[in-house]
């Protein structure tokens, strides 16, 4: 029984990653959120770091 299921499982794994257009509209993130703000003493400050590489990126 397990032997029969294996190819199916592999197919399921292969199809796991969607292309951008198949993500339902309500869940799509249009643009990456490049946040520079942080909050100190009641003020939103902007981080001046220019080098994008030192920004932490989420994938």
């Amino acid at each position: 029984m397990q032997l029969q299921e294996k190819p199916q499982l592999q197919a399921k794994i292969n199809s796991i990653f969607p292309d951008e257009s198949s993500i339902p509209v309500e869940f799509r993130l249009s643009d990456p959120i490049h946040q520079t703000e942080y909050l100190i003493d009641g003020l939103l400050r902007h981080w001046e770091g220019q080098d994008k590489k030192s920004l932490h990126q989420f994938m």
Binding site: L29, D41, G49
Partner: protein
């Protein structure tokens, strides 16, 4: 995501990598706002602080869709579970307000003990550093943040390494709902910005949810550890025990739920199952069947149980664990 050139990784965002300098500025703001317990916030009436918290909850609810979506994208939590995390956090804020009202009522009574009349009041602890975990970055962080605030403490909040972006929509709410310096939110590498805060000796309370190793090393950095108050939620190893006369359908269902809700990334997850030798074969068969039927996929897919892991290093680490277990004689059954 799939593209015409094969698979590629989608960047969902970035946050500032602050340095020690900004972290210490946040600390100073919290110290000034607390002003040794004489600041505006710690001396405000209970009803005044409740109003600020309620105002914050109202502003937070307006950001629900954004926060839930970011939670789902960043840590791969299914959409219903991400939504549940948000709703539970709002309920938690309301429950905390009720708890404080009760406490305030009880504390207004006088206690007669050994001929002495006393009144017991609770006071804030001071500047509080709140550090939440990646698996429940919103809910768990807020279970330390909200009580700290409502009692009159001032707070420095540093989100975990993953589960950061969801704080972005809330920054304005923090800014507008609380007096300056009461809530400060900083980002960056924990090992760069948290140790200087602890070493300053100006953190009065450490609220931390994570590993015991990290908690120990943070506490040791405080120059006066006896003065530091800690509120900790650390890792857990929870066993499940299945006895020979157990209702197997129920036991299998509970064990699947217990071990694999949110991919098992919960401190309360079942980490090991002890199953009686009389029923182990039939239990294993049904347990494996049940797991094989769990739907895996992207967190927005309907009915999905197993979702992607947020950390790119994790699959490698988990494979190593499986190999290590096999090395010691373990057998896989999936």
């Amino acid at each position: 995501v799939k593209t015409t050139d094969g698979f590629s990784q989608k960047v969902i965002g970035s946050v500032p990598t602050l340095s020690e300098k900004e972290a210490l500025e946040a600390l100073d703001a919290a110290v000034v706002a607390y002003n040794n317990g004489r600041g505006h916030w710690p001396t405000m009436s209970v009803s005044g602080r409740i109003e600020h918290i309620q105002d914050f909850a109202y502003r937070m609810k307006e950001k629900k869709q954004e926060v839930v979506n970011l939670l789902m994208w960043e840590i791969g939590k299914s959409y219903p579970d991400s939504e549940k995390e948000f709703d539970r956090t709002i309920a938690y804020i309301e429950d905390t307000i009720d708890a404080l009202k009760n406490l305030d009522r009880t504390n207004s009574r006088f206690v007669l003990e050994q001929g002495i009349i006393g009144q017991i009041r609770r006071a804030p602890l001071g500047v509080t550093l709140c550090l939440g975990p990646t698996n429940y970055p919103l809910n768990e962080t807020f279970t330390t943040l909200i009580p700290a605030l409502i009692m009159g403490n001032t707070v420095i909040l540093k989100p975990p390494r993953l589960g950061v972006l969801l704080n972005r929509p809330l920054l304005e709410a923090f800014r507008d709902a609380f007096p300056p310096g009461v809530v400060n939110v900083i980002y960056g590498k924990g090992r760069d910005i948290t140790p200087p805060l602890m070493a300053s000796g100006k953190v009065d309370a450490l609220a931390f949810i994570g590993s015991s190793k990290a908690a120990s090393s943070l506490k040791k950095l405080h120059p006066k550890p006896h003065r530091l108050r800690s509120v900790l939620g650390l890792e857990a190893k929870n066993p499940g025990i299945v006895l020979p006369y157990a209702d197997l359908d129920l036991a299998v269902k509970e064990c699947v739920l217990g071990t694999l809700s949110y991919n098992g990334q919960r401190c309360t997850a079942l980490k090991i199952l002890f199953v009686h030798s009389q029923i182990i074969d039939v239990f294993l068969e049904r347990f494996c069947d049940a797991i094989a039927n769990l739907k895996f996929g992207m967190p927005w897919e309907k009915g999905v149980t197993l979702t992607p892991l947020p950390d790119i290093e994790k699959p490698k680490y988990l494979t190593e664990l499986v190999e290590d277990a096999k090395h010691f004689g373990a057998k896989g059954c999936q």
